[in-house]
Symmetry: C2
Subunit: 404 residues, 2 copies
């Protein structure tokens, strides 16, 4: 598997673009993205589990009921959630894209992200779509990735190439997400493309399985968005034998998909609102993957763990406390806790009790911008990893003044 350039438009058949449509006040900020495939694609998606769903979620669910799609249109700056005429405006976005691209309206995946509760400026979108369609290119992944950013500081894109049944296959994607992010979700916004030939049911299976192990293991602030969506389009242009069962080709494709999504998930955690560091928590020695996941997510989501990480304070009792209220069973008396980063590795608790450790080394380890919390609970052979970030003054500032 190789990392290649091109992000979401690296796969055969795909182009992408981004434009400033006027939804964001800052004219230098792109705010409308488009992705197109030359041919009809197998399509799969997962959505937010929030009971309050934004209008475009419903329209996309409807359009993807066929298992097929050709294009994506997505704006930032307004979530089109709890907003007047929400579904009508989401449909108008699809219609505008379809008209400019000469495709069917229900071949379009539509998504929005931004402030909840305000009317979408659909007129601005309709006006910008023809120009946006003209910008579509194989080099368009980067502006598309930028156009879906809200409080994100970093663009999130990656593409991979690998062989399936002797054919070179490409898989790429873009994502956004920085706040209102929590594991109990469909996911945040992520659009992926591949030229792999794969049936819709198998594509959905791979996507759902990988989401559980990647995006659903990220927490930034415990808030699950109304607008989360993760969608993938497969053009089949790689020419491999269509994957329509869980065979070896499926395993190869799945591994690449999980790798791509893990990268984007980590990038979202690293870019958490106000974050100064990426936190990785691995729980090993669990008696099931679910137990390991529950424990790792509770640690990553704890405000007290997050603030202690901001302060680079090895106050490990908070980690054991978060594990304790997670709901997963484990034996504190068999639990070891260690921290690591590029500065080194240090064990701070063994068998549930603190051990004498070098506080200066612990501080230097935790001071880095990527820190791993390594927990071993001695119950079995399963493990799981979750990603998050620290909780800083800047998170409070960003979210105290979001609309101003």
């Amino acid at each position: 598997m190789n990392v290649i350039q091109g992000g979401v438009s690296a796969s055969q058949g795909f182009t992408a673009a981004g434009i400033h449509a006027g939804l964001r006040k800052n004219k230098s900020k792109l705010d409308l993205a488009m992705i197109l495939c030359d041919v009809e694609c197998a399509a799969a998606a997962v959505y937010t589990k929030n009971a309050v769903k934004a209008a475009p979620i419903f329209v996309t669910m409807e359009n993807l009921s066929s298992g097929k799609a050709r294009a994506v249109i997505c704006n930032s700056g307004n979530a089109n959630a709890c907003a007047p005429d929400g579904e009508e405006n989401a449909r108008r976005m699809c219609a505008a894209a379809a008209k400019a691209l000469g495709i069917n309206e229900n071949s379009v995946i539509v998504a929005s992200t931004g402030v909840i509760g305000q009317r979408l400026n659909i007129e601005a979108i309709e006006q910008a779509v023809p120009a946006l369609a003209k910008l579509l290119s194989r080099e368009g992944s980067s502006p598309a990735a930028e156009a879906i950013m809200t409080t994100d500081l970093r663009k999130k894109e990656l593409a991979l190439s690998f062989d399936v049944g002797g054919k070179k296959v490409v898989l790429g994607g873009i994502a956004k997400g920085s706040g209102m992010i929590h594991p109990n979700m469909g996911t945040m916004l992520c659009f992926m493309t591949t030229d792999c030939a794969i049936s819709t049911p198998l594509l959905q299976l791979a996507l759902s399985r990988a989401v559980k192990r990647t995006f659903n293991r990220v927490s930034i602030d415990g808030d699950t968005s109304t607008n989360d969506m993760c969608a993938i389009l497969a053009s089949g242009l790689a020419g491999n034998k269509v994957i329509d069962e869980e065979n070896e080709d499926f395993s190869i494709f799945y591994e690449a998909l999980e790798t791509l999504m893990r990268h984007l998930a980590r990038e979202i955690a690293r870019d958490g609102e106000g974050a100064t560091k990426l936190l990785t928590c691995t729980v090993r020695g669990a008696d099931s993957e679910d137990a390991a996941e529950t424990l790792a997510k509770a640690v990553i989501a704890s405000s007290l763990v997050k603030t202690m990480m901001f302060g680079s304070d090895a106050n490990w009792g908070r980690i054991l406390c978060a594990m304790g209220y997670s709901g997963a069973a484990f034996d504190k008396n068999r639990t070891d806790i260690s921290f690591s980063s590029r500065e080194g590795y240090i064990t701070v608790a063994k068998c549930g009790l603190g051990i004498g450790f070098d506080e200066d080394l612990a501080y230097r380890i935790l001071k880095q911008d990527e820190v791993t919390i390594d927990i071993c609970i001695g119950d079995g052979d399963f493990e799981a990893t979750a990603w998050g970030c620290d909780l800083s003054y800047e998170y409070v500032k960003i979210n105290g003044e979001y609309r101003t």
Copy 2:
């Protein structure tokens, strides 16, 4: 029902005291509290639901298995959780108190609060207990309340008097709690006393019921402590007919107990780490109290709602978002959201959609130090209230540097 002076030592038969035993570095900070009753009391308690429980929790559970107790000893500065010799040291605290007071060791309720994972300085406690016992007095509630504080900025105590079957009954208590506080718990530390004559089973029933409606509806940071405990001692010295069934006297006692606990719960929320304001969220029109409670707690616990309140920004979409992921069923299209404080009342969303509102008035309302979020969901006749606080820079500062 009247509010009276005297806190946890206002009831007949009770005395209290606080002393600096040397667990906290600051010599002016009291860190060891004691409460004593002249006679044996009916006793009831609820404990943290965290699977990682501190050592004193287990010792208190054991001692209260008889349903009787006479004294409480509690230190701050060290949680005696995940610490070497934890249970042995908790038992030594009981033994020291019992010896100084001339009572049985298993008549003592023991509790600790502070840093997790460090050995308790039991020698300092044993040395201080005889002097502490000599300080016991009817005026000792205030130093006892101070001695159990950790990051708390405000002492939390209250006493009420009311009539039960023609007899004047007194009920009082002290509490602490400022961080590591979340609804899914037994509760934080709270000690209450009454001279009401009531059987242990009915005392436990009243306590468990009131905890659900008071302390368990507070969230400060989503973290459930390892040391939470809420205990009540009933001396029976008021001379009322013993309450041993759910009769009218029980109702009167219950109402007073819920009032006391609601006051202490609100005081804990107001004193949340870094808090600049007390948030109250009332959900009305639910089809069950459980649904109303789930919704109100999700709103109060949301980091995004908490930061918007810190910024006094009427970004109500975050409230609907939190309700959406709460897990409780409700119809967004019948949901109204309003804000109120001493500055006035303003409705910002009706039927799930934003309405034009006066942003300046909304800002002035949210700028106050007590703000209510009033939500009506139009499903039925049930309601519930939850309490919390905003999320400020100061919370991050306190918890980034807790051990330093």
